[in-house]
């Protein structure tokens, strides 16, 4: 096809340059504020408007990066390794939670599209589900999980974390995909009807392709929600081995070793990047070869 691929590499180069620029800008802002900001923070009528700029609250970027190479305590592994391992541990919960969320969200969306009654009956609960505070929900899920076992394998704590990630991530998918499935113009639906195409073939030929532009933004939101769900889930269920736990542990040393907290936070950010990257890759692979025309 003559229209495929044109500008693809240039487009990707632009995205890479943009990412790099944004990172640089972030570093510049951080260091710039440190240089000009009041070390004790800016107060106005007793309210802190701007954060402290001293080394304890905002260590230098170089110091944070350097901390990755130093050992965790007096001895032991470098922090970088610990953070990476914790990120990998959490990633499992994120990935499983995200995958299940895609499945559950898609099923709910298709169900709600198919049956008006289902939409009216389910949608309020889907929305309501997101208003339940996670902190309250997490121990309940962990408690329930303890009574299950998958085959002979007992329930693992990370599975509770995955369930919590799912709980947060299915929502954008269900709502976004439902909108997408409902997006075809009435005339397109009439066309399929005139072809005597049943519900399934209308779904495959019309609704799903029409939903594609709605799906990927929903997946991005769901990816971010899965990361947040997993990290917060780890913290609130007290699961060991993941980034969530690391954030809590390192935060306790914030006064003596301020750079350490930020390494754990960067680890969580890395998780987000990995998930966003995976979604981006999926979009690249699943999208039809798009023409280069600008719109």
């Amino acid at each position: 096809m003559p229209t495929s691929g044109r500008g693809g590499w240039r487009g990707r180069g632009r995205v890479a340059a943009g990412t790099l620029g944004a990172t640089l800008l972030g570093v510049l802002l951080w260091e710039g504020y440190k240089a000009v900001g009041d070390p004790d923070g800016t107060m106005l009528f007793g309210v802190r408007l701007l954060p402290r700029a001293d080394d304890a609250a905002m260590p230098h970027v170089a110091e944070i990066l350097g901390r990755f190479a130093d050992p965790e305590l007096a001895g032991g592994e470098p922090v970088g390794m610990v953070v990476l391992r914790a990120a990998a541990f959490t990633l499992r919960g994120v990935a499983v939670g995200f995958a299940v969320a895609v499945l559950v969200g898609a099923l709910l969306a298709v169900l709600m599209q198919r049956f008006r009654v289902a939409e009216r009956g389910l949608l309020p609960y889907v929305v309501l589900s997101q208003t339940v505070p996670l902190i309250a929900l997490a121990p309940v899920i962990a408690g329930w999980g303890g009574q299950f076992s998958i085959g002979s394998r007992p329930w693992q704590p990370w599975m509770s974390v995955a369930v919590i990630a799912t709980y947060l991530a299915f929502f954008p998918i269900a709502v976004g995909l439902l909108r997408g499935l409902q997006s075809p113009a009435p005339i397109a639906e009439e066309l399929m009807r005139s072809y005597a195409a049943g519900w399934w073939r209308t779904l495959v030929k019309l609704r799903l392709p029409a939903a594609r532009p709605y799906l990927f933004p929903a997946l991005r939101l769901a990816g971010a929600a899965a990361v947040v769900g997993a990290v917060v889930g780890e913290i609130s269920t007290g699961t060991r081995g993941g980034i969530g736990r690391l954030v809590v542990e390192y935060a306790r040393e914030a006064t003596t070793d301020p750079a350490k907290v930020y390494t754990a936070l960067l680890g969580a950010a890395l998780l987000g990047l990995v998930v966003a990257g995976a979604v981006g890759l999926a979009e690249l692979l699943l999208s039809p070869r798009r023409r280069a025309s600008t719109r």
Binding site: M1, P2, T3, A185, I187, A188, E190, L191, R193, S194, Y195, A196, A197, R201, K205, L206, P209, A210, R212, P288, R291, S293, R295
Partner: protein, 345 residues
């Protein structure tokens, strides 16, 4: 090939008479059909001086032979006392159609014309079983409209193109073929043929949003024709086209209908178009949508000369009078506007 009006029986003085339906000699009609069909098969692009057979007898005969099936007795479309009320019982209730009786014979070409909002599209949707009637019966090819839709008994082109914008032009034309389970090769071959017919072969790989409105409309026409339906339902398909393309596609459409024995129900706002294409022109009035008059057109074979013939202009005059003479006082301005807009220079 003679370009004169071979079977045009109307002398200049007699054209204003309300002629009954076609009286073409069946045998003669069939012979003309065969000749024209060969011409079409040879080259897909239209000839300017060709003869397009017209008349129900000739085309009905070709319908039974071309399809290879036994001749089915009933008409292509049969509407009896059809009414359609939208939002019944609500404040925004609209009586779109009321008491419509209409029969489209096999192989017959019938146009619907009338002021905007008089229910032409609604009538087409009823035949297509896309909306249910609130009164009367709709039968298509001896079946209920519902059964006919399930049997894929018609092809439809809507007022808006209605293309799927994630599919290329060619893949849009292939869509109905895909749903009928044609092989990839057959689909691609048919789509190419249809796109050549509407003059868009070079745009097969483009996406709909890269085309102009008129081009999109032509893709929709190609899509409707691709399945060789025994009945064509077309809603102002040539509305967005320039005059030359419009005339060319009118001729193509007549050729296809003649070759395949296709029946057609065709909505248009152009009086000359209705007269040129049709065996009968159905003139409608608005609120409630009713059939005011059915004007029979007797032009014989359509040729280059037809568009300049006295009989053609006489037909236009009769349709215009029928539009203007609608009993409802709200209708005449719209009808008069259309007549003025549609009149040839």
């Amino acid at each position: 090939m003679e370009t004169g009006a071979v079977t045009d029986p109307a002398p200049a003085g007699a054209v204003t008479d309300r002629a009954p339906d076609a009286v073409t000699d069946p045998a003669e009609g069939e012979a003309v059909v065969d000749r024209a069909a060969e011409a079409v098969i040879d080259r897909v692009m239209p000839s300017t001086g060709g003869v397009i057979p017209k008349g129900r007898a000739g085309r009905a005969a070709s319908a039974s032979t071309a399809s290879g099936r036994p001749v089915e007795p009933g008409p292509a479309v049969e509407l009896a006392g059809v009414a359609k009320v939208f939002n019944a019982g609500r404040p925004d209730e609209v009586t779109a159609l009321d008491g419509v009786d209409l029969t489209v014979g096999r192989g017959e070409f019938v146009s619907l014309i009338g002021p905007s909002g008089c229910g032409k599209s609604t009538l087409l949707r009823l035949v297509a079983d896309l909306v249910p009637p609130t009164g009367g019966t709709v039968r298509v090819a001896d079946r209920s409209a519902r059964q006919a839709r399930r049997d894929l008994a018609y092809g439809i082109a809507f007022q808006q193109a209605g293309l799927l914008d994630w599919r290329t032009v060619a893949r849009n034309v292939e869509l109905p073929l895909e749903l009928r389970g044609l092989s990839r090769r057959d689909r691609q071959g048919k789509a190419r043929e249809m796109l050549e017919l509407v003059g868009l072969a070079d745009f097969a790989g483009h996406y709909p949003d890269q085309l102009s409105g008129g081009m999109q409309q032509r893709v929709a026409i190609a899509r409707a024709l691709a399945v060789d339906p025994p009945l064509l339902l077309m809603d102002e398909p040539f509305g967005a086209l320039d005059e030359m393309t419009r005339e060319r596609l009118q001729d193509e459409l007549l050729r296809i209908c003649a070759r395949k024995g296709t029946s057609a129900l065709f909505v248009t706002h152009s009086i000359p178009e209705a007269v040129y294409l049709s065996d009968r022109v159905v003139v409608m009035s608005a609120r409630p949508g009713r059939i005011v008059e059915i004007v029979g057109v007797e032009l014989g074979e359509r040729t280059e000369a037809t568009r300049q013939s006295a009989a053609f202009f006489a037909g236009i005059t009769r349709v215009r009078e029928a539009l203007r003479g609608t009993p409802a006082r709200s209708a005449p301005p719209a009808g008069a506007d259309q007549a003025a807009a549609g009149a040839p220079a």
